[in-house]
Symmetry: C2
Subunit: 233 residues, 2 copies
């Protein structure tokens, strides 16, 4: 099923494209639903489509030659994956799995590359997306190299606080602790120890429900970067 | 000093651009030399130029709010840094320091962004570069999450073997062990233990000189990915 130009315009990276270009994109795009646990793309395969996640949640994971797996990123709407593999026509470095029911756009990869070669506005839009994707990976490497697992968990929880002026906060973890451990680059037993260590800093958890009783204290311990991107380009 | 179009054409990401566009790029580019330890850009600053490393070596490092530092990447010619920050007009996430004498091109950032907005071929060239930069960061996260420090060192040494059919190899480490430890995401004492552990797999070191006596055995242990990019787009 074609998604229609209105659905495409709701994708942030396409929002500034004109009607004609959205129509051209629509002609090479399909809208699909997948069940939980569906594999959307597989490490090692050459991309046939660019995926855009509209609803649900997708985990990107890497697999070593000995079959060890690690979660590289957990995506929430609206996000595309994996742009770099589609642009370079190189094998996926990660496998994408639906961790909930999902709704995704699939944009034909060769047709998209052909459209990029003629449509300057589309190339510019994807250039901004590729740059932001790069920065997100750099942030994760910074996190892995500069912080302990407990600090990484603290930074992750602080990022879920919507109000920058909040002194306390409560919310639900957006995904389960196995995925969270993978995303933070630690084993599940280390994640449990990290949650236990944060209890002394006012972090209370019941299943996926989290209460931060003292945001300032957690911030002083976890030291999140102030280098978040403002949503431009 | 202007580098001249011939110097620009030798930069892989610019090699397919036509003479007119290279002339336009030349008009916004300068060629500079810097001494060892010079800071070329600083985390937190808004980029004024895009750097292209022509000669020498540059370390990109991240600094946490408590001043902890970690090497994120070590660049060798020819490589640009940091494209994503220049494209998004966002603060650098990393500080670049010359670890040798270096020769770099500096391309005026606002003028480059203006040129990208009008020159489709330039936008396409940078899109390919941004995608490959992203994949390089994904590989590093895979490495950090899927391999032990000893395996990471093994993969790093195997990547320095030029002949894919070689059964043994000898070479010099391209940078010192402090930088290498940072790049591999471990402390220097862990790196020393990793080198000691690899001795049993036929890895002999004398200072920066390395001999791999049994490439196949090292490969079986370190399990490097086969997912290296072919140099296209």
């Amino acid at each position: 099923m074609r998604p229609g130009p209105a659905t495409l315009r709701a994708v942030p990276m396409f929002e500034r494209l004109d009607g004609k270009l959205l129509g051209q994109l629509d002609a090479i795009t399909e809208l699909h639903g997948f069940d939980v646990n569906a594999e959307l793309c597989r490490q090692g395969a050459i991309p046939a489509v660019l995926h855009v996640l509209l609803d649900g949640q997708v985990a990107l994971s890497g697999t070593a030659p000995d079959e060890t797996q690690a979660v590289m990123e957990v995506l929430r709407p609206i996000a595309c994956f994996v742009l770099a593999a589609v642009l370079t026509e190189q094998p996926y470095l990660m496998t994408a799995t639906a961790t909930t029911e999902v709704r995704v756009l699939t944009i034909n990869a060769p047709a998209l590359r052909a459209l990029i070669r003629t449509e300057h506005d589309l190339a510019l839009a994807l250039l901004g997306t590729a740059a932001r994707d790069f920065r997100s990976m750099v942030r994760q490497i910074r996190d892995l190299k500069l912080r302990s697992a407990t600090q990484r968990l603290g930074c992750y929880l602080l990022a879920l606080v919507n109000d920058p002026a909040a002194t306390s906060a409560q919310f639900r973890l957006p995904f389960d602790k196995a995925l969270l451990a993978g995303r933070l680059g630690c084993r599940q037993d280390s994640l449990s120890r990290a949650f236990a260590a944060l209890r002394g800093l006012g972090v209370e958890t019941h299943g996926s429900a989290v209460v931060l009783h003292d945001v300032a204290r957690l911030r002083a311990f976890a030291m999140p970067d102030e280098l978040t991107d403002t949503p431009v380009i």
